[in-house]
């Protein structure tokens, strides 16, 4: 059951910065022992996230996998292109421009937007939809503008 949605607005129009911020959020969530689903827009982005998570700080070890791999059901961090990952996660990070269908099954949702119009416009639409969802479920809806 959803209890919180956070919108993060990052500066610039670089999608790589968006993915990098998603990795930092994932790391923070794991340090709190939360499970994370990274909803990527396509296979290329999934693989990019996979590489970025393995390439985080040299001493960090953030075990994860891409959905469809042998041990994907037991991963605390999963990357996938399915809007419905098949189970609930503590944190669902949406990196697509679509409203995830099963998003309400997850405890928290993070939406990361950058300043490009093709990211902002669908992001605003989702914000409106989340507003309704949060009102109906008595959940928090937060907006963070990152410098």
């Amino acid at each position: 059951m959803i209890n919180r949605v956070d919108f993060y607005m990052i500066p610039g129009v670089d999608n790589l910065a968006r993915l990098s911020f998603a990795c930092k959020l994932t790391s923070k969530a794991r340090s709190l022992n939360n499970s994370v689903y990274l909803f990527a827009k396509d296979q290329q982005e999934s693989e990019q996230l996979d590489d970025m998570l393995w390439n985080m700080e040299p001493t960090a070890f953030l075990g994860h996998d891409i959905k469809g791999q042998e041990f994907d059901q037991i991963q605390p961090v999963l990357i996938g292109q399915d809007a419905d990952p098949g189970k609930s996660f503590d944190l669902f990070i949406n990196l697509t421009d679509n409203m995830p269908v099963s998003v309400e099954n997850n405890q928290r949702v993070a939406e990361i937007l950058h300043q490009a119009a093709d990211c902002l416009t669908p992001g605003r639409e989702r914000y409106k939809q989340y507003k309704v969802i949060c009102k109906n479920s008595n959940s928090e809806l937060n907006y963070h503008e990152l410098g």
Binding site: W54, N55, G63, F71
Partner: protein, 77 residues
């Protein structure tokens, strides 16, 4: 100080340790000290480590999951 020693294979092949051009630098404290202060070399080493670390992490993770999975299967059989 002579910091050149002949390569063993070349001595065997040529039978002449004094033959010119068949020597390699001796690894001594001086060589190591020089290498440690060589920014270019250090950067190359850092890049090499950066490149290999993600590969090690990924393999380690897979091996760990395989081992846990086997252990789990054995405890259930």
């Amino acid at each position: 100080m002579d910091n050149q020693i002949p390569m063993l294979t070349e001595i065997i092949e040529a039978g002449d340790s004094e033959k010119s051009g068949l020597h390699r630098p001796e690894i001594n404290a001086e060589t190591i000290a020089t290498a440690l202060t060589d920014d270019d070399l250090n950067q190359k080493i850092e890049h090499a480590i950066d490149a290999v670390l993600p590969v090690i992490k990924r393999r380690l993770h897979q091996q760990l999951l395989s081992a846990l999975s086997k252990e789990d299967n054995q405890s259930h059989s």
